[in-house]
Amino acid sequence: MVQQTFEGEVLTEPVVVEREFETVDMNINIGPQHPATHGVFRMVLTVDGEIVKDAIPYIGYMHRGGEKLSENLDYRGALGYQDRTDYLAAFNSEWVYVNAVERLAGIEIPERAEYVRLILAEFNRLLSHFMFMGAFGTDVGYFGTAFTWTFKERERIQDLFEAVCGDRIMYNYFRVGGLAWEPHETFIEDSHWVLDQVEVGITDVDELMTNNEVFVARCRDVGAMTADEAISFGVTGPMLRASGVPFDLRVDEPYSIYDRFHWEIPVGERGDVYDRYLVRLEEMRQSVTILRQALDQMPTSGPIEPERMPARLRPPPGEIYMRQENPRGEYGIYMVSDGTDKPWRVKMRSPCFHNLSSLKPQVINAYLADAVVALGSIDIVLCEVDR
């Protein structure tokens, strides 16, 4: 063979030959069934060596036509679909939908129901961010540890939800005009107890990840986006705030009763993955602050639905774009009524959809391993992207 021709040849001195390797661009397909894509998401990366030169995302594997289905159901019937879009923040999505219908139909809801809704939605934000911490930690390299630590607290929040509405993920608890039924008797005490545990859990996550050298090295200056870039891509939520824009719909366009509480909007500086993590971590603490105030202010008795509700909702013709701050960003429902008992048009503005569209500039000219981290930091829920 060819190799044997060199036998007996002994090099006395090492010879270093410097030459530039010309690598060929290569296409790498990731997904749709890949654990790093957090669902059914596919992207084709063109890599030059280890540097990503181009990225083409493919979505739509989970497209179920939710808007079309909602247009063919009556106003109350399509509510359950909202649980199936953002399954990690189902209360928040439900809340946007029922708010849109209520404002379209001109229904006033009792104060106590508003408080319960807000408390459950903020708990759901905590749950979703705990889920992010676990999944993102796995992306970065904490196999198992991050998941088990964060799921401990997530489990407690889910137990609370189960006590309130009987379900752990697909709640379907909000109703147009109020709530399905009263929360259980010890709701406020249980919530305080869960909050105590959650505060410990947030500190645990903080101590586990924030100052870890490997974690910082993997996250710092990865996927950085400037504020203008992020706004141009329609990025909202913690990703936009990490880029230094203090845009939070709970403050900028206050809805519900958020103007009764005091809290701060955490804002990042560099817009990289590490800032997104820090913003989410601080948001969890702020959620706890909101929840403590809301639990103290909440009326202990009172109606949870209006005295009179029409059996069949027929809102007057008109349109509304209802938007609220979900854990992932601005979730919007654009609803058009034509006066019948079915909405003429329902459009769901999904925050993940537009956050994901900003993936391409984040991964171009970055390392392939950083592309996975950047994708994980978006915190996508593919059911919500595809709707």
């Binding site: 063979m1 060819v2 190799q3 044997q4 021709t5 007996g8 040849e9 979505i59 739509g60 497209h63 036509g65 808007e67 079309k68 289905l69 063919n72 404002r103 379209l104 139909a105 001109g106 229904i107 006033e108 809801i109 009792p110 104060e111 508003e114 203008d228 870039e229 706004i231 141009s232 891509f233 329609g234 909202t236 824009v245 845009f247 900028d252 366009e253 519900s256 009763i257 103007d259 007057p316 008109g318 349109e319 509304i320 774009y321 209802m322 938007r323 601005e330 919007g332 654009y334 058009v336 003429w344 048009r345 459009k347 503005r349 959809f353 537009h354 569209s357 900003s358 595809d386 709707r387």
Partner: protein, 333 residues
């Protein structure tokens, strides 16, 4: 309850005009030549209806003007109003000034064409792709007008009201009747008669293994062993043919039949005890491998440096020749 949740619709005048000093007046001042029709939505937003040919201008100047600063395109969609046409909707927001506006425009139902605003907002890229596939609106100047959520080859517009909800499976090529009605079992194809063994093996009235008696199980095992042996013989024959470079006997392999019927050459191969001898004669037909060349010995560097270099070059040449010959042999030249 805050007062802003109180519905204002019944008390409002039927004209639904926005109050003076609203953002509609700013738009009218900035762009006096564009005809704005303003109204208030149920969400207390100002909705401006403009002609379709001025969409790009209005949105671009709305972003650049100091009094508007609409830097966030938060949502973009369309509404199908059937005979009245399509209504395209843009929801804009100004983060510095905290003001929202809705820009709407009417388009014809068939052949709707709009200028793309991807050069103003990157966000419009995916939003317009979705709008195009769902409503069939063409966006002039879009850099990447492929389908986004739907299959890339599919050319339907599902969010049009004319698109049916239920019989979507028909458009996807799914035989709906097959799943909704009881069907007789499909008649056996004619190819199965050519392979009686295969037809018998795949007979539908076979018992489950759990229900079989011991003799039946014994029978079944023997049958399976026979099928395995036959498949091995056939594989040996095929391998021999392939190595000899001959076209496979019996034409293309039938698809679907579980054990392929043995070709005419099978009995000859089956008579041999092993599969290896069957392929052995075929290998002999090929040109014999070239014998390894004798390699020149390499002299010591101190004694004969030139001879050493020549010997090394010679060995490299021989090695390359040998490698080329082996490659050619493996390729079957």
């Amino acid at each position: 309850m805050t007062s802003r949740r109180t519905p204002a619709a019944p008390e409002e005048p039927p004209s639904n005009e926005p109050p003076p000093g609203s953002i509609a007046d700013v738009y009218r001042e900035v762009m006096p030549l564009v005809g704005f029709e303003a109204e208030m939505t149920k969400g207390d937003d100002v909705a401006l209806t403009i002609p379709a040919d001025s969409i790009h201008e209005v949105i671009e100047r709305g972003r650049e003007d100091e009094r508007l600063q609409m830097n966030l395109l938060r949502n973009q969609t369309a509404v199908d109003w059937e005979e009245r046409g399509l209504e395209i909707v843009y929801h804009l927001y100004s983060i510095p000034l905290r003001q929202a506006v809705t820009i709407k425009s009417w388009l014809p139902s068939e052949g709707a064409i709009v200028e793309s605003i991807t050069d103003i907002y990157e966000m419009a890229n995916w939003a317009e792709r979705e709008c195009r596939e769902m409503f069939g609106i063409e966006f002039i100047g879009h850099p990447d007008p492929r389908n986004l959520l739907l299959d890339e080859d599919i050319d339907i517009h599902p969010l049009r009201k004319s698109h049916p909800l239920a019989p979507i499976e028909t458009e996807q090529g799914v035989d709906v009747e097959f799943f909704t009605k009881q069907h007789p079992p499909p008649e056996p194809a004619e190819e199965e008669e050519a392979a009686p063994d295969a037809a018998a093996a795949a007979a539908p009235e076979r018992k489950r293994v759990e229900d079989m008696t011991e003799e039946e199980r014994e029978e079944r095992r023997a049958e399976q062993a026979e099928r395995v042996a036959r498949a091995r013989e056939l594989a040996a024959v095929r391998r021999a043919e392939r190595l000899a470079g001959a076209p496979p006997a019996g034409g293309p392999r039938p698809e679907g039949a579980a054990p392929p019927p043995p070709p005419a050459a099978a009995p000859a191969a089956a008579s041999a005890a092993e599969a290896a001898p069957a392929s052995a004669p075929a290998q002999d037909d090929r040109p014999p491998a070239p014998p390894p060349p004798e390699l020149p010995s390499i002299p010591d560097a101190e004694e004969d440096p030139e001879g050493r270099a020549a010997a090394q070059a010679e060995r490299v040449r021989l090695g390359r020749e040998l490698a080329a010959a082996r490659r050619a042999q493996l390729r079957g030249d």
